[in-house]
């Protein structure tokens, strides 16, 4: 009888572990993590204290991500904000064998060809950091201030579509959050529902 109960309890715990979902709340500390980028350099979030950080979950094969990259709009934002001191980290959480999974060298090649102007592109193939932050879609944006507090999470902009023409008429939430943080002002829109393809965990 005791044995049976123990097995049941164990089962419940296993279930619990498996279904653990992230609870990153805007306004609270951003969870720390360490990931390696496409050039083999390790990046640790806590080591970036004092800098404003933007995390961009990405998948080069997703039509929503392609909308931003093919129109060269996101590369402009990357170049602009990096020159203003923001650390722009793109994170790829596609699991091996799933869409969007590339080896570091391959992904590096793709990003160079696309004109990626962020600070680094990190690889998260086991999806740990993705699940830690609760990243649901590509793209999914998280803006972290200099004190490592999460100030924005959600969509890049307000128009959920694959049409590049919508970028110009949409409200850019990521840029607004970055502008506010860099100017020392509070972020007005702190959380939105992200849109895009699902992250291929």
């Amino acid at each position: 009888m005791v044995k049976k109960m123990l097995v049941v309890l164990l089962g419940i715990l296993v279930l619990a572990a498996g279904s653990a979902s992230a609870q990153v709340v805007t306004g609270e500390a951003a969870p720390d993590f360490t990931l390696t980028d496409t050039k083999g350099v390790a990046h640790r979030l806590s080591g970036l204290k004092g800098r404003v950080v933007l995390l961009e979950w990405s998948n080069p094969d997703c039509p929503f991500v392609k909308k931003f990259y093919a129109s060269k709009s996101i590369q402009q934002w990357q170049a602009d904000y990096v020159s203003r001191g923001v650390v722009w980290l793109s994170i790829n959480s596609s699991a091996a064998g799933k869409q969007g999974y590339y080896s570091p060298a391959e992904l590096d090649g793709i990003l160079v060809a696309a004109g990626f102007a962020g600070t680094a592109a990190l690889l998260d193939p086991d999806g740990k950091v993705g699940r830690l932050y609760g990243a649901q879609t590509t793209p999914h944006i998280y803006v972290i201030d200099a004190q490592q507090k999460l100030v924005y999470q959600g969509a890049i902009d307000s128009k959920a579509s694959v049409d590049a023409a919508d970028i110009a008429t949409a409200t850019n939430y990521a840029a607004a959050a970055l502008d506010a943080v860099l100017a020392g002002k509070p972020v007005t829109v702190q959380a939105t529902k992200s849109y895009g393809c699902s992250v291929k965990y």
């Binding site: 039509p63 699940r131 579509s161 849109y195 699902s198 992250v199 965990y201």
Partner: protein
């Protein structure tokens, strides 16, 4: 070569002619693994009112498109109509979606095929054109694992209906009929209430018919709930869904809107699978008793007080009184009584810790296990009722048992018994939550598990305290009156209190499982009483036999589920005729509460899971004609079958005009033979 050329020219001429004739009419496109077609329900456009057109999307194997709220990822299809002046397009009617799981994400959409229908309204003042051109520009997202966006420009030309004639249905009309059967309907006869809590939204539904099956709430907004979190639902007379809120601020939200899908269906026939929910959100008013936020030590304090108060609650007091009696009897042997109490306290603490551990684990696994959840299982309720009944009989002096008090065997048996009585005390205390406890326990479950354990420990300490006090200050036991004849009176009073608890538990069982379960329970209690009387009289073997008999009966009762599978409708000649007209098999049970044969047949055959399964498979419409009060309509019906008494079992095979009468004593084989061969 010369002979080929004319053919070629002819072929090209034909081809271009056909192109010209077909013109720009493109009602069908294949893109993004989806075949999209613009179809109309009617062959012609009516001269007034509305008519339905729609986008029929047929996806390749493994691909899906999205609902109006795509869920965690994806994109809903969008429509842009180009219509003749005066025509207007209404909103898309979305059939209920299915949940698409790609852990840890959940999306909502459609696989294989879906029709998104839109009503077009004809201009009131008429118009000139004899043909109506309808153009639709649509874009959608189709995903399997990877996603592909699709776009299409479709057009459809319909003639205007002939004046005075109603346009006929087109070849594609059947898609519209099918889609309509999957449109969510407005709720009728269903009371709904929703509440906005700090981390969740609760939705309480009281439909008139309770069915088995999965339930899921699909919100219209995409930022409302965590789509992957389980929507815990309890089912005891009503459904309660607890939806985990997403990390967005909704405190100004006025209503909960979405569709509620039920695998078993909401209506009698189970055809309507989804209803529309538009429930105003009630905000939970913070109670004056608990200041928010509750600090952990305050919660521990409340838990401690609550634990002490539990001692005088109706669930616990009778059991505590047994402990008091024990103590009184053991007053002389102090050392043993001390060890006894120590183990009793240990029993309480260990069971509280186990419960805390279990609750934390269950909570982590995503179940809304509120305090008192054990009492949701009818088997648990029945077991506790039996135990309390046995104690009551003991107090009445029907028999003696050395469960707690053992003068002969020192040490272990008594200590083990003390430990288990501590455990039992905890189990029984759970549903009687004193006012303090609700907030302290709710708080405990939201805190890191260390704090939660502390709170549960305080609860256990409070529960155990009175007895420990009596132990530590032996003078207090002197306050307890000396043993004497008054003890017998006290025992009897406590016995009555225990019987009261048993009564309450049986009423809980009745609410959970129905009258049949209550009857079974009473039979079991009677048998157990008889068995214990035998034991008390020294007739061990007879007692054991009766006990085994009651256990067998109880087990069989447990195994055969209560009849919420077959819906037994009240007999009405009209309903029976309607069911027969629809070609469904009909089974009528003429019964009465005072008819013993009827009840035995029902308990053993008609309510068994085998018959239930058979009826479900054959879609048998079951009617119960209750003659308990000698209803004249039912007397008439009986007379029509040339009978004047019950039981009577009538079966109409589908499409047949003759009935089959089953014998008065049923067995599953008889039912199977009659219902089985059609």
């Amino acid at each position: 070569m010369f002979s080929i050329l004319p053919n070629r020219i002819a072929g090209m001429f034909f081809f271009t002619t056909i192109c010209f004739i077909s013109g720009p009419v493109q009602a069908e496109v294949y893109a993004a693994h989806t075949r999209v077609q613009l179809i109309a329900e009617l062959e012609a456009v009516p001269r007034s009112g509305t008519f339905w057109v729609g986008l029929l999307m047929t996806m390749d194997e493994g691909w899906h498109v999205y609902w109006r709220n795509p869920g965690d990822s994806g994109l809903a299809p969008s429509f842009e109509w180009t219509l003749l002046p005066g025509f207007s397009a209404g909103d898309i009617q979305w059939p209920y979606p299915q949940a698409i799981f790609a852990a840890p994400l959940t999306s909502f959409g459609y696989a294989k095929q879906v029709l998104l229908a839109v009503p077009l309204s004809v201009p009131a003042n008429g118009f000139l054109s004899e043909t109506v051109d309808i153009k639709l520009k649509t874009s959608w997202l189709a995903c399997r694992v990877e996603c592909v966006p699709g776009q299409a420009e479709l057009s459809l030309s319909l003639p205007l209906a002939i004046r005075g004639e109603d346009p006929r249905f087109s070849n594609e009309a059947r898609y519209f009929g099918e889609a309509r059967s999957r449109w969510p309907v407005e709720m009728k006869n269903i009371a709904a209430r929703s509440e906005l809590l700090p981390g969740a939204i609760t939705l309480e539904i009281r439909p008139s018919i309770i069915r088995e099956g999965e339930i899921r709430f699909f919100p219209f907004r995409d930022d409302l709930i965590k789509n992957s979190a389980p929507q815990v639902s309890l089912n005891d007379g009503h459904y309660l869904l607890k939806l985990e809120r997403a990390n967005f601020d909704h405190d100004d939200l006025a209503r909960l809107e979405g569709i509620l899908w039920h695998q078993g269906g909401w209506d009698r026939e189970g055809f309507i699978k989804a209803v529309i929910v538009r429930s105003p959100l009630v905000r939970q008013v913070p109670s004056e008793k608990t200041p928010a936020p509750l600090t952990w030590w305050l919660a521990c304090f409340f838990a401690f007080i609550g634990g002490m108060i539990l001692n005088i609650m109706p669930c616990v007091l009778p059991v505590l009184s047994i402990k008091v009696l024990q103590l009184v009897q053991r007053e002389t042997d102090r050392a043993r009584a001390f060890a006894h109490t120590g183990f009793y306290v240990l029993g309480i603490m260990v069971s509280f810790w186990s419960l805390a551990f279990l609750l934390v684990a269950l909570k982590a696994a995503g179940h809304a296990a509120g305090w008192g959840f054990q009492f949701q299982s009818p088997v648990f309720v029945a077991a506790i009722a039996v135990m309390l009944f046995v104690f009551a009989l003991n107090l009445f002096g029907l028999f003696d048992f050395s469960f707690n008090v053992s003068g002969r065997s020192p040490g272990n048996k008594g200590l083990g018994g003390a430990f288990f009585s501590g455990v039992f005390m905890t189990l029984v205390a759970t549903p009687c939550t004193a006012p303090f406890m609700g907030s302290a326990l709710g708080f405990a479950l939201t805190q890191p598990w260390g704090v939660g354990f502390l709170i549960f420990t305080s609860l256990g300490a409070g529960l155990a305290l009175p007895l420990v006090l009596l132990m530590v200050f032996p003078r207090l036991t002197r306050l307890i009156p000396k043993p004497g004849p008054w003890m017998i009176g006290l025992k009897h009073v406590l016995g009555f209190i225990l019987l009261g608890s048993v009564l309450w538990l049986i009423s809980v069982l009745g609410a959970q499982s129905g009258l049949v379960a209550v009857m079974r329970m009473l039979v079991i209690l009677l048998l157990i009483a008889v068995a214990l009387w035998c034991f008390g009289r020294g007739r061990r073997w007879l007692g054991a036999a009766v006990l085994i008999g009651s256990l067998v009966f109880g087990f069989q009762a447990m195994v055969s589920r209560p009849a919420d599978g077959i819906l037994w409708r009240a007999y009405s000649a009209g309903d029976v005729a309607l069911a027969r007209a629809r070609g469904l098999p009909v089974f009528i049970d003429f019964t009465a509460a005072w008819c013993l044969t009827c009840k035995v047949n029902e308990l053993t055959v008609l309510r068994s899971s085998a018959v239930e399964k058979l009826f479900k498979e054959r879609k048998v419409q079951a009617f119960m004609a209750d003659w308990t009060n000698q209803d004249p309509r039912i007397s008439e019906a009986l007379a029509a079958f040339k009978r004047t008494s019950v039981p009577l079992y009538v079966y109409y095979a589908p499409g047949s005009s003759e009935e089959t009468l089953l014998p008065e004593i049923l067995t599953f084989a008889i039912v199977r033979d009659v219902v089985g061969d059609q």
